[in-house]
Symmetry: C2
């Protein structure tokens, strides 16, 4: 199905290890969402490596993307029996926008012990969770385009915190793509970065541009909504870490992400 995710992460071969892409305007917050831009680069990586699923992907953001043409250069560094690793750089003109290291695997093939202490948040059903236009009005005058692509339903407590501030930097809620995509491993790097920043529950700030984002994909999600817990535990001199955990409808951890980001001052009212 040619959903917006499929259309907006399409890459076209343009030579050895080179892929043409388009950065869409449909995934903006203030700028193209970092998880979306990462997904564009990963589409090129996925076309080059011999394993089907992103396992560990690390992105360092170099400059803000613009809408329009982009090029992804991919270098495959390893093709192993169980893991493939590639380096990718996303360019617009002569500006490097993002550098990525991505290790791919077959998530269905691994076996070994399981011991999980993370518990998913208890949430009312999605239809009893508020839809806020995805971003609190204090930060944005209108819902950004990404709010039409990603359906994030904060719990009542989180919805309240996003309005009232002053809570700890913690969000929980349901999340999925809004366009009917059956979620796969390839959607999780985006969805781990597509809810509002957790710091919005604590402070009135400006935008929070990502410096570095690493996503570990831990399983192929079962059909249905994901549950998300997003938390910042260390905002230090304007730089924060944010952790996101995603669980599938069967209660299994399917992704864990961490990013480092800068908090920009709130714009004058």
């Amino acid at each position: 199905m040619a959903t917006p995710f499929v259309e907006d992460t399409r890459v076209v071969a343009a030579g050895a290890g080179r892929w043409d892409a388009q950065v869409s305007d449909r995934w903006d917050i203030a700028f193209p969402n970092g998880g979306y831009v990462l997904s564009v680069a990963l589409a090129a990586v996925a076309a080059e490596v011999g394993h089907p699923h992103p396992l560990a992907v690390s992105a360092h953001y170099l400059s803000t993307c613009e809408h329009g043409p982009a090029r992804v250069d991919v270098t495959v560094l390893k093709e192993g029996r169980s893991l493939s690793t590639a380096a990718a750089t996303l360019w617009q003109g002569d500006r490097a926008r993002m550098a990525v290291l991505a290790t791919y695997a077959d998530l269905r093939a691994s076996t070994g012990p399981t011991l999980v202490s993370l518990e998913p948040p208890s949430l009312p059903p999605p239809d009893q969770c508020a839809f806020l236009g995805d971003r609190p009005a204090a930060n944005f005058s209108a819902p950004p385009p990404i709010a039409s692509r990603v359906d994030f339903r904060p719990s009542p407590a989180t919805a309240q915190a996003l309005v009232a501030r002053g809570s700890r930097a913690y969000l929980e809620g349901w999340i999925r793509l809004a366009d009917g995509d059956r979620l796969g491993a390839e959607h999780l790097p985006l969805l781990a970065d597509a809810a509002p920043p957790a710091v919005f529950a604590a402070l009135a700030t400006g935008w929070v541009p990502t410096i570095e984002l690493t996503v570990h994909v831990r399983g192929v999600p079962a059909p249905g909504w994901l549950r998300a817990r997003i938390e910042t535990r260390a905002l230090i001199e304007g730089t924060l870490e944010e952790d996101c955990v995603l669980w599938d409808a069967d209660g299994r951890v399917v992704a864990m992400s961490r990013q480092l980001a800068r908090v920009l001052p709130a714009a004058a009212p």
Copy 2:
């Protein structure tokens, strides 16, 4: 002072963006420690970029290092006002051992809000914490070489868990370099990966090779011991995440790391 850390991370210019290095045998666990190998690559990055401190470094491990000569190829991707980013690959012969993305900054220059909910563990003084030869006997017949380089002093509860198993995959203790190095930001990527794996408190396993390691350096440490908390919350089909937080002697968070690793079966007794 030519400490082992200084000696064993020395790099020598060998052409544009190319550095010669030596992988020492003094930082082995079963193989050269991943945080040590990362420190060798970062020594080459630090020589090329315009900012003094590692801020966010991501390493994907491609194949196991051997002792002896190595080469680090560095490509500077960004030299900004506040951040520099480089890609580095560590080679031995024609084998790529590790790929790194590293963003450097001046940690003393950032300003903005601070909000930290992470609390350091309460620990008895270091001289009342056991020294275990760094690794439990059930996993290694003798202390590995790295135990002479890194001084990890588990709390009494952690020391007990490392022997008895069956606890949650959680460690806490004091940590520093054993050779008198005054700790700086450059030592933190190593120290975030130099204690035993937290899973050793829960299960009798074999070695735990790292697939991906990202370290966020959050501050330049004050003089003295660091406190470490290391935890695995999701071991799934033999693949685990491990998080480490390091606090300095003033109780400030100075590093947060996360790695993805595979648990190998315990060797037959």
